[in-house]
């Protein structure tokens, strides 16, 4: 029954499907627009600190907010693009922040390559939408790791260059296992190296890396601090508790290498801190994975898991909406910068424009997103 004619017809059919699928995949490489806020004084690139990144998907924008002479802080969003409160916290800051004294650097997409794809077999949405007064804005939901098109193949075992620590091979594309990076290393190590160079060349006083974790992961709704940053972070925890935001504090493990809170603290003068919120969309126990889960965190399986004591965060029918997770991050950022300035006056940064936790819960994220013109 089959012959060359049916073969050509079927081949043509598969070309059409490949075209449609290819178009969908290529769309994933389009990055969401971010409005340059009034307070942005300069936009740098990671390639300014490592020219080898120029023209690659590892090159990423660094938004600079420079006031009078004072302290400095770096905010890392998008280290793992499947942890959306990280990107959104950076975007809300970029579009609303004003700095009068000191300098704040914000990288919304620390691993820009990881935004250009998402994880196979996870069923994650490619993007999510947020309603604003001007219509909808869209944002990318990416992968935990660098796109394999930029770094391939993965070794069976990833050996962290600075320590010799052995990890699973796929961690070789995880930016938060690549620090302090290498100038002649893998693609991901080069991105890490550029971020370390940014910190060293600008003598950045504090670096805050924003993350999310699945609700069944023990380090969640928490701050992980390098020992140098611990005095600041412990004050931050108390201040946040006063504001009714429950948050844990974990010391950066000395033996877990390649992470920002360990390597940036060891290799630079910065106070290195990492913050985690609860994202059901990346959890193992989750049900249907769609935009709604990303935005609301509402998932009956997690409510059940909470009831039988399997989670490390409170979980009820209200889930953990994105505005709550962004509010936690922004509150933590504000507190860290303020406490650093109170403790060391030469590192003071004076700023305004970041919405508070309660404002975000009341008004939602859309209220603080600007119109794209």
């Amino acid at each position: 029954m089959a012959n060359k004619k049916t073969g050509i017809l079927i081949l043509f059919l598969s070309l059409i499907i490949a075209f449609l699928a290819g178009r969908e995949f290529l769309n994933q490489r389009k990055l969401e627009p971010i409005v340059k806020g009034e307070g942005v004084t300069e936009i740098q690139k990671l390639s300014d600190y490592l020219p080898a990144l120029k023209g690659t998907r590892g090159d990423s924008d660094i938004y600079v907010f420079r006031g009078e002479e004072g302290g400095s802080a770096l905010i890392l969003g998008g280290t793992h693009p499947n942890e959306p409160s990280s990107l959104m916290s950076a975007v809300i800051m970029i579009e609303n922040l004003k700095v009068f004294k000191g300098t704040i650097y914000i990288i919304p997409r620390a691993n820009a390559s990881a935004f250009t794809h998402n994880d196979p077999q996870e069923g994650s949405p490619q993007k999510f939408h947020i309603k604003t007064d001007f219509g909808e804005r869209w944002f990318r939901y990416g992968s935990r790791a660098t796109n394999p098109l930029d770094q391939w193949p993965d070794p069976d075992i990833y050996i962290h260059a600075a320590s010799g620590q052995k990890l699973s091979g796929n961690e070789t594309r995880n930016l938060n296992r690549a620090y302090p990076g290498r100038v002649d290393g893998t693609f991901t190590e080069k991105v890490a190296y550029a971020i370390v160079e940014l910190i060293k060349k600008n003598d950045i006083n504090m670096t805050i890396d924003l993350h999310e974790a699945s609700p069944e992961y023990p380090v969640i709704n928490a701050i992980v601090a390098h020992e140098n940053a611990m005095p600041i972070s412990s004050q931050v925890v108390m201040n946040m508790e006063f504001d009714d935001i429950q948050i844990g504090l974990e010391p950066s493990p000395v033996s877990l290498r390649g992470l920002t809170h360990r390597e940036l603290g060891d290799y630079t003068n910065t106070y290195a801190v990492l913050m985690e919120t609860a994202n059901a969309a990346q959890g193992r126990l989750r049900g249907k994975t769609d935009e709604n889960l990303v935005l609301t965190g509402i998932d009956p399986t997690y409510v059940k898991a909470q009831k039988i004591g399997r989670l490390f965060v409170p979980y009820d029918d209200n889930g953990h909406p994105l505005e709550e997770r962004v509010g936690r991050h922004l509150s933590g950022i504000v507190q860290h910068i303020v406490v650093m300035g109170e403790n060391e006056i030469d590192k003071e940064i004076i700023f305004e424009g970041i919405p508070t936790y309660s404002e975000l819960l009341e008004n939602g994220l859309g209220k603080y997103l600007k119109e794209i013109k």
């Binding site: 029954m1 049916t6 079927i10 995949f25 391939w152």
Partner: protein, 47 residues
């Protein structure tokens, strides 16, 4: 490394297409068509 990967992929893609055209069973032609889609996307470096 990337070029070796592409050469291998392109070779496999060509053999699958030739196989599809020569195949006498419709089911096997459809099977080959399914295999062609990811191979083609990989040759074009689309993930």
């Amino acid at each position: 490394m990337m070029y070796i990967y592409l050469v291998i992929l392109f070779y496999i893609l060509c053999t699958v297409i030739l196989n599809l055209l020569d195949e006498k069973s419709l089911l096997k032609q459809l099977n080959a068509a399914l295999v062609i889609i990811p191979l083609l996307l990989r040759v074009l470096l689309i993930k």
